[in-house]
């Protein structure tokens, strides 16, 4: 299994593009850095949207869901099918991917996941691994194992030339959408009643239940939204990350890195972790392509060894 990342198939293409986007020698380093930073931020924000559902699920239900990537894959395939078979425009596919995956998540939560919350972590790990295997092979069987390609609408293709740095329009689009989602999430968590109920339930489900909060409904909604966000991320990411049946397995470790390094008690923790991961991966692939994902894994191990609760978790959190 090759763990893919942003630059996997398109690495050489990326390097060439960065090289050709630079102008004269003195500005090329800055231009390269800025391009890398930009791409890294785009990748990081995408990872954040993909992984935030997992972070909240883990923090809320204390459930290690290794199958989270399957929801992202579902969103990607929904988009591909809608676009290529039904001719639905790309931008319209995004909310549809979100809704479709959210519904799928709600269904699975109610039927399969709910009995598993109280189980030991080993059982949860085995269960979600089983789900991933099933999802991966099912998609392979139904759709085939080739990479799926999406043709972006023309207004999202190409680059905005700003100075010597070429800003990819699509990556800019990703950053805008994901930033808006982040702001929205933060607002929901801190300003709405649902948000405070959710935070209460994350802090202590038993006490929350004792206060009369319908913990089951909170779980259901949260799981659905988290899965929906993963689906949306999968749809957004189909172009940059590639989409094939092995997507959940390839990216599982990245989602888990975001969650374990970022912690599960805040939104900003996984956000920062995802951005760091995105930038580190892009920069690493560009500057030291021979080492590949090696750097990311070593960084993760180092961080988790020094701060086992994650970089941003409060003391005493899960």
């Amino acid at each position: 299994m090759e763990t893919a990342s942003y630059a996997s198939l398109r690495g050489h293409e990326r390097s060439r593009r960065i090289a050709s986007a630079s102008g004269s020698a003195p500005t090329s380093i800055a231009a390269t850095l800025l391009t890398l930073l930009f791409d890294g931020i785009a990748y990081g924000m995408l990872l954040f949207v993909l992984a935030v559902g997992l972070a909240v699920t883990l923090g809320l239900m204390n459930f290690i869901n290794l199958a989270h990537g399957a929801f992202a894959m579902a969103g990607g395939y929904i988009t591909v099918l809608l676009m290529n078979r039904a001719g639905v425009p790309f931008v319209a596919c995004l909310p549809l991917a979100f809704i479709g995956t959210a519904l799928l998540g709600a269904l699975l939560e109610r039927t399969l996941y709910r009995p598993m919350y109280a189980r030991p972590h080993l059982d949860q790990v085995l269960f979600s691994i089983g789900l991933v295997f099933m999802a991966v092979t099912a998609v392979d069987y139904v759709v085939g194992s080739m990479q799926q390609n999406i043709t972006l609408p023309p207004w999202l293709q190409g680059r905005l030339p700003i100075e010597a740095v070429g800003i990819g329009k699509y990556r800019l689009f990703i950053i805008v959408i994901c930033s808006a989602l982040t702001v929205l999430l933060q607002w929901v968590l801190s300003r709405t009643r649902f948000g405070s109920r959710l935070r209460a339930a994350v802090d202590d489900p038993r006490v929350a239940g004792g206060l009369g909060l319908d913990v089951n409904r909170i779980f259901l909604l949260t799981f659905a939204v988290g899965s929906g966000l993963a689906g949306l991320g999968g749809a957004l990411g189909a172009e940059v990350l590639g989409l094939d049946p092995t997507f959940p397995l390839k990216f599982m470790i990245y989602f888990l890195i975001v969650v374990s390094v970022g912690g599960t008690t805040t939104i900003t923790g996984p956000l920062v972790a995802a951005l760091l991961l995105g930038i580190a991966d892009v920069a690493g692939k560009y500057y030291v392509p021979t080492l590949g994902a090696f750097i990311v894994y070593c960084l993760m191990i180092a961080i988790l060894t020094l701060r086992p609760q994650g970089l941003f978790a409060r003391a005493g959190s899960r």
Binding site: L58, L126, G130, M134, A293
Partner: protein, 331 residues
């Protein structure tokens, strides 16, 4: 050992009884050479089962006995495989010496990485174990002058297996390899058996059940975790070495996540915490694999996944330890 039973207190008798050989244990150990003798044409299959069993038993030591959930145990399996293969190719092709080298190398890796799993939550440990296996995968991929990279290390030709009964060349039919693996499995089981009945083994279970209490009776928790992780790594490395030596090559998939997930499943099928779960699980798993793969070769993973989901939903305990269904006082 001891004198007549009448002189012993009930406590002494019970403690001694715990370490005695059960009839089914004897049957199991007898079955190992019998399988080799009676099923000569299944040697390759039996060899595979023995290797997987050894790997699963090593996982049992950390999962079933010490309570550490690892998603990257293949790291040690793979490390042992490559250590044995590289040693045979570059230095000396003697299988037993290579096995010893692989065990030593894996033990060192286990001791080093054990420091990483001492702190943190279950999730942290999952991530770190997964990360270590992934790092090794990438290393093996990149250091291709040493490891053959993505093509793997091929053409590992082993020398003869030197035993007190004579020197045996590894043959194509796999009979010698099979006997070799079974013998290593048997030795490992015997040693593991002594360990789990010893004070050290009981202390591992104490660590698994209640770490705070274990420390409060004077057990140095970290030291023991390091020790058991090192031992488990050494045994997993032995299994990997067996694979490399009996099949003649080592490839990247020894570090693969699938391997870590499968050995977890094998152990869970057979049951954790009573030492032989790895053996029973390996037999069941291999047979299942062959049956299902013959039927749907491409989509084995689907049925594997379905099996996992059903197994967990129904409850792992129902599959475990069939003889306790008839024993009073247990669940």
């Amino acid at each position: 050992m001891t004198g007549s039973d009448e002189a012993l207190s009930p406590a002494a008798r019970s403690l001694l009884r715990a370490g005695r050989w059960r009839w089914w244990e004897l049957a199991l150990f007898a079955a190992l050479p019998l399988a080799w003798l009676l099923l000569p044409r299944q040697s390759l299959l039996i060899n595979e089962i023995a290797i997987v069993a050894l790997f699963a038993v090593s996982l049992d030591l950390i999962l079933g006995y010490a309570g550490i959930v690892s998603l990257g145990h293949a790291a040690f399996f793979g490390f042992g495989a490559y250590a044995a293969a590289i040693f045979a190719k570059d230095t000396l092709a003697d299988p037993l010496v290579g096995l010893a080298v692989a065990i030593g190398a894996s033990a060192l890796l286990g001791a080093a990485t054990s420091l990483l799993i001492l702190r943190g939550t279950d999730l942290t440990r999952l991530m770190v174990t997964l990360g270590v296996a992934s790092v090794l995968y990438e290393l093996a991929n990149k250091l291709d002058t040493l490891t053959g990279g993505a093509d793997g290390l091929r053409g590992v030709v082993m020398g003869p297996l030197v035993t007190p009964f004579g020197a045996f060349e590894f043959d194509l039919s796999g009979r010698v390899g099979c006997a070799y693996s079974l013998a290593v499995l048997a030795v490992a089981l015997l040693v593991a058996r002594r360990i789990v009945h010893s004070p050290f083994g009981i202390s591992l279970q104490a660590l698994r059940d209640n770490r705070l209490r274990a420390a409060s009776i004077g057990l140095a928790v970290r030291r023991r975790l390091v020790a058991v992780y090192t031992i488990a790594a050494a045994v997993a490395g032995a299994a990997g070495a067996l694979l490399a030596q009996t099949s003649g090559f080592a490839s990247l998939d020894v570090f693969d996540f699938h391997r870590s997930a499968e050995v977890l499943l094998v152990l869970v099928i057979g049951g954790t915490g009573y030492l032989y779960g790895g053996v029973f699980g390996a037999i069941v798993f291999q047979l299942l694999h062959d049956v299902v793969s013959a039927w749907t070769p491409q989509y084995w993973n689907f049925w594997l996944g379905l099996f996992l989901v059903v197994l967990v939903l129904v409850g792992r305990e129902r599959f475990v330890r069939p003889w306790t269904w008839f024993r009073r006082g247990r669940r």
